[in-house]
């Protein structure tokens, strides 16, 4: 075992010094409770493990041309993001409990919080959550605390992957979870307004929504606020390079999945939940928060702050049970946004929209392929209706080398022929053209 330093001689010397034997180290464990060895294979060397895992990795087909999205996207990641993350001063550190030895992590988190606020046009952000789904669940819990009400309205244009998570988490809690059915691909205003009552804590919406459609929730925010209801918006951070922000719409809590900000898809994680709110709600915000302060000489420094909200102080009265967040992923997002900068993010977002627009025209020109929501505007993802079962078509396109999109029948009734197609800046005109040709050939 190469990760243990001491030699047998050193161990013997140490044991002798403290008057113990190897067996004696476990004298406090009754014999009946010991397992007497595990039935595991013998350990192997780095050379062997690399060969073995290279073989396993080769069984994954990552060479497909990808048009899969659904909230998780194949964006370009600059090399400097990887280079920064591989600094082991960052990745082998733990939670910055000792600020003097952790200014690197702490300042990076402060910059992350600032970037998230600037991106969403909100006033306060925490240091990150596990992922976009758990962040949305935490936003619900936060809204219940703030309003002391117990009804939540969520439109089904919000990512269904998150909606099923929310159902699991709230199953044992006394929460009235009301789902509204989208209206022609957008948040169902009539149903939402009708469902809002004096018991409603929050309305949950997403922009761009799961169908890729762009909306402006300003009217819903106004109606909600008039009834003391909070607006929670889940968003896609890359889109905020160009799109109207949740802050500008009047959102009270903003969450989202930060994977698109410099993190590989990595088969579902680790990802990055982010969460921002208004300053007046900070004491109800879950998770770690970093704040600026000074030392005795007036020098600026950063610390974990407002910790009386958290589990290690408040235990069962804490705002959340979260302890570890996704600090290293938040660092990736921080480096990514800092590198791209003001112009780079805007250009990336525009490029995604341009390529999606091209794909939309190219694909809807195929006989039998129609846009599901003709009147709506999309960012980089779209729902197309095919003349036959979408899951079948996707399966056939896999054989042609395309992960062509996500069939919506899994989550939506009456959408057996619908496919959700995402286009990022990484897809080329040629790839889009080839997808169109193969799709046309199959249909």
């Amino acid at each position: 075992m190469p990760f243990i330093a001491n030699t047998d001689e050193q161990r013997a010397a140490m044991l002798a010094e403290i008057g113990l034997t190897t067996e004696g180290l476990f004298a406090d464990v009754p014999a009946a409770l010991r397992c007497g060895g595990l039935n595991l294979p013998e350990g192997i060397s780095e050379q062997e493990v690399r060969d073995k895992l290279a073989g396993i990795a080769a069984k994954n087909y990552t060479h497909l041309t990808g048009f899969l999205g659904g909230g998780f996207y194949d964006h370009f990641i600059p090399s400097a993001v990887y280079a920064t993350l591989s600094r082991s001063e960052f990745y082998t550190a733990y939670t910055p409990y000792q600020p003097e030895t952790s200014q690197g992590t702490l300042q990076a988190i402060y910059e992350f919080q600032s970037l998230i606020c600037r991106l969403t046009e909100m006033e306060a952000s925490n240091a990150s959550m596990y992922d976009g789904g758990t962040a949305l669940y935490e936003a619900i819990m936060m809204a219940l605390r703030i309003t002391q009400r117990n009804k939540i309205i969520i439109d089904d244009s919000v990512n269904p992957i998150y909606r099923v998570m929310i159902h699991s988490y709230t199953r044992n809690l006394k929460i009235d979870l009301t789902e509204t059915n989208n209206h022609e691909g957008l948040a169902n205003r009539d149903a939402i307004l009708k469902a809002m009552d004096k018991n409603t804590a929050a309305v949950i919406l997403q922009n761009p929504n799961f169908f890729g459609c762009i909306d402006d929730f300003t009217d819903i925010a106004e109606a909600a606020h008039a009834k003391g209801v909070l607006l929670i918006v889940s968003c896609y951070p890359i889109s905020l390079g160009v799109l109207k922000t949740p802050g500008a719409m009047g959102a009270d809590i903003v969450t989202g999945e930060g994977q698109s900000l410099g993190l590989p898809m990595s088969f579902g994680g680790p990802y990055l939940g982010f969460m921002a709110t208004l300053k007046k709600h900070v004491r109800n915000l879950p998770g770690r928060i970093v704040g600026e302060t000074t030392d005795a000489n007036g020098k600026r420094g950063f610390v974990l702050t407002l910790q009386t909200r958290e589990q290690h102080i408040r235990r069962d009265k804490a705002t959340s049970n979260i302890c570890s967040n996704e600090a290293l992923c938040a660092l990736a997002a921080t480096v990514y946004l800092t590198l791209l900068g003001k112009e780079g993010l805007k250009e990336t977002a525009q490029l995604c929209a341009d390529k999606a627009s091209y794909a939309y025209q190219r694909l809807t020109a195929i006989p039998g392929v129609t846009p599901r929501f003709r009147d709506n505007w999309v960012f980089n993802e779209m729902v197309l209706d095919l003349p036959c079962d979408a899951a079948d078509v996707v399966g056939k396109l896999i054989e042609k080398g395309f992960a062509a999109g996500f069939p919506l029948s899994r989550y939506y009734r009456g959408m057996d022929n619908s496919i959700l197609i995402a286009v990022t800046e990484k897809r080329t005109k040629q790839q889009i053209g080839m997808l169109a040709e193969e799709l046309e050939a199959i249909l």
Partner: protein, 482 residues
């Protein structure tokens, strides 16, 4: 040091975005656009790299300093794990791919990793099955308690109380409360173990279960742990094992053999994945046979032909607790570590972790008070009460250690020990490192006697001194908005 925003120069670029090969779209209507650009920094690539490199140098990490942060198991993170997690076959795999028709066959490698880890962790913990989905230890706790609730609901049990000892991590009561339970705290006895007498008094039909860390946060193995589990079972409660301290007994003792029904592991502790400055972690949860049906959707199954598939058909499941299959990149790193350690390696881990902790405990006993000085497991908890009489508190000792080049131990935890300093050296550290640390701790004990003022002014060697935490909370400057 300046913030990135303060280094920004108008017009400077860090990235050239790829040339567009399609026409510029006009389909984004103005009413849907933001009115002013996001105020992100404008820096060159070198500016950015230098900024974050400079930040990194203001951190202690396991690679730079001995980091005996108790209950956090700051062991070495093998480099090969990082390398393998970056293999394109893993890093570039879209999580929705196996949910497409025929897509499962294109992700056999990833599904194999998840499946094999399940099998390995079953054996290590003595459990019937694991879910890999929880994304951190506390998330695993919540998942475990949700399964507990589902079990009781199914059986028609009316139970509302979860028990946890006063030495528990804060996440235990927080997780139970968030899942809808009332938490009752069981006091510790004079030996530092959970009080059996108090436990018996608190036990009734309302008790849904107990959450225990074993060894506990004092580093002590409770010889009555099986009796405790039996007591809980006597009221049809479930025993939850918080795996935060598994490093002490891995390969030697299995939570399942102790009578526990639910186990969470912190892969970033026992299985050497990086702590990342506070995550990402991973908190797989294992359960005994009677709870298998409640595991989250989906699970990976191995078919008769040797291929792997995702199973969504779980009618009794608590549902979906993560978007996909957990923090795959972290699970993969831990898998590599377990393959490299093997059967014998894991046993050596526990032995060396326990030896190192006891070595420090015995060597420092003459210099620091210790309430529970008996044989410990992976960590020992000293008390700075002797030094406090001279005005030097646990905090001052911690800051003195920073000047000596060490990351401090965990301070003021567990809550039941006054002036606590919780030291966990891990198996990775050599006798030379331990001896040097012990010498530094002795020098600080001496200084606490002879020159307490110097310790109260520490640290002097860091870029900033002690920070005003009250000011941070009062002024609440938590983002630079413009």
């Amino acid at each position: 040091m300046k913030l990135s925003f303060e280094k920004s120069v108008k017009g400077r670029r860090g990235v050239r975005v790829a040339q567009s090969d399609v026409p510029t779209s006009t389909h984004l209507r103005k009413e849907f656009l933001r009115d002013k650009d996001a105020q992100l920094p404008e820096l060159s690539e070198l500016d950015v790299v230098r900024h974050f490199t400079e930040l990194s140098r203001r951190n202690f990490g396991v690679d730079t300093n001995f980091y005996p942060l108790g209950s956090c198991t700051m062991k070495y993170n093998p480099k090969v794990c990082e390398r393998i997690a970056a293999y394109p076959g893993f890093a570039h795999l879209h999580p929705l791919l196996p949910q497409l028709r025929g897509g499962g066959m294109l992700t056999q490698g990833a599904l194999q990793v998840l499946h094999d880890m399940d099998i390995l962790l079953r054996e290590i913990c003595g459990m019937a099955a694991f879910t890999m989905q929880p994304m951190a230890g506390a998330h695993g706790e919540l998942t475990g308690i949700m399964m507990m609730a589902a079990y009781h609901h199914d059986k028609g049990n009316k139970k509302s109380v979860i028990l946890a000892p006063d030495s528990a991590h804060g996440t235990n009561p927080a997780s139970a409360a968030i899942a809808g339970y009332t938490v009752k705290t069981v006091p510790s006895d004079a030996e530092g173990d959970i009080s059996l007498r108090a436990l018996k008094e608190m036990l009734n039909d309302e008790v849904a279960g107990i959450m225990l860390t074993c060894p506990n946060t004092l580093g002590l193995f409770n010889p009555h742990v099986r009796e405790i589990c039996d007591l809980i079972h006597s009221v049809d409660g479930l025993a939850y094992y918080d795996g935060a301290n598994l490093n002490a007994i891995v390969g030697k003792v299995r939570p399942g053999d102790l009578g526990f029904d639910i186990v969470h592991l912190n892969l970033h502790k026992t299985f050497a994945t990086p702590h990342g400055g506070g995550g990402p972690g991973a908190g797989p949860v294992g359960v005994v046979k009677k709870l298998v049906d409640y595991l989250p959707v989906s699970t990976v199954v191995k078919r008769e032909d040797g291929t792997f598939a995702l199973d969504y058909n779980k009618p009794k499941s608590i549902g979906y607790i993560a978007p996909f299959y957990g923090n795959f990149g972290i699970i993969l790193r831990a898998y590599v570590y377990i393959l490299m350690a093997g059967r014998e390696g894991l046993e050596r881990v526990a032995e060396n972790a326990v030896l190192n902790a006891n070595y420090i405990k015995e060597k420092l006993k003459p210099w620091y008070d210790i309430e529970h000085g008996q044989l410990c497991k992976h960590e020992c908890v000293f008390s700075a009460t002797r030094q406090a009489k001279n005005g030097v508190h646990a905090l001052d000792i911690a800051k003195g250690l920073i000047d000596a080049g060490y990351h401090p131990p965990t301070m003021y935890f567990p809550l039941i020990v006054k002036e606590a300093l919780m030291i966990e050296p891990t198996e990775c550290e050599s006798k030379e490192t331990l001896d040097a640390f012990i010498a530094a701790m002795i020098a600080i004990a001496e200084k606490a006697r002879t020159n307490p003022e110097e310790l109260k002014a520490a640290p002097k060697t860091t870029p900033i001194g002690r920070l005003d935490e009250t000011k941070a909370a009062r002024e609440m400057n938590i983002a630079k908005l413009s």
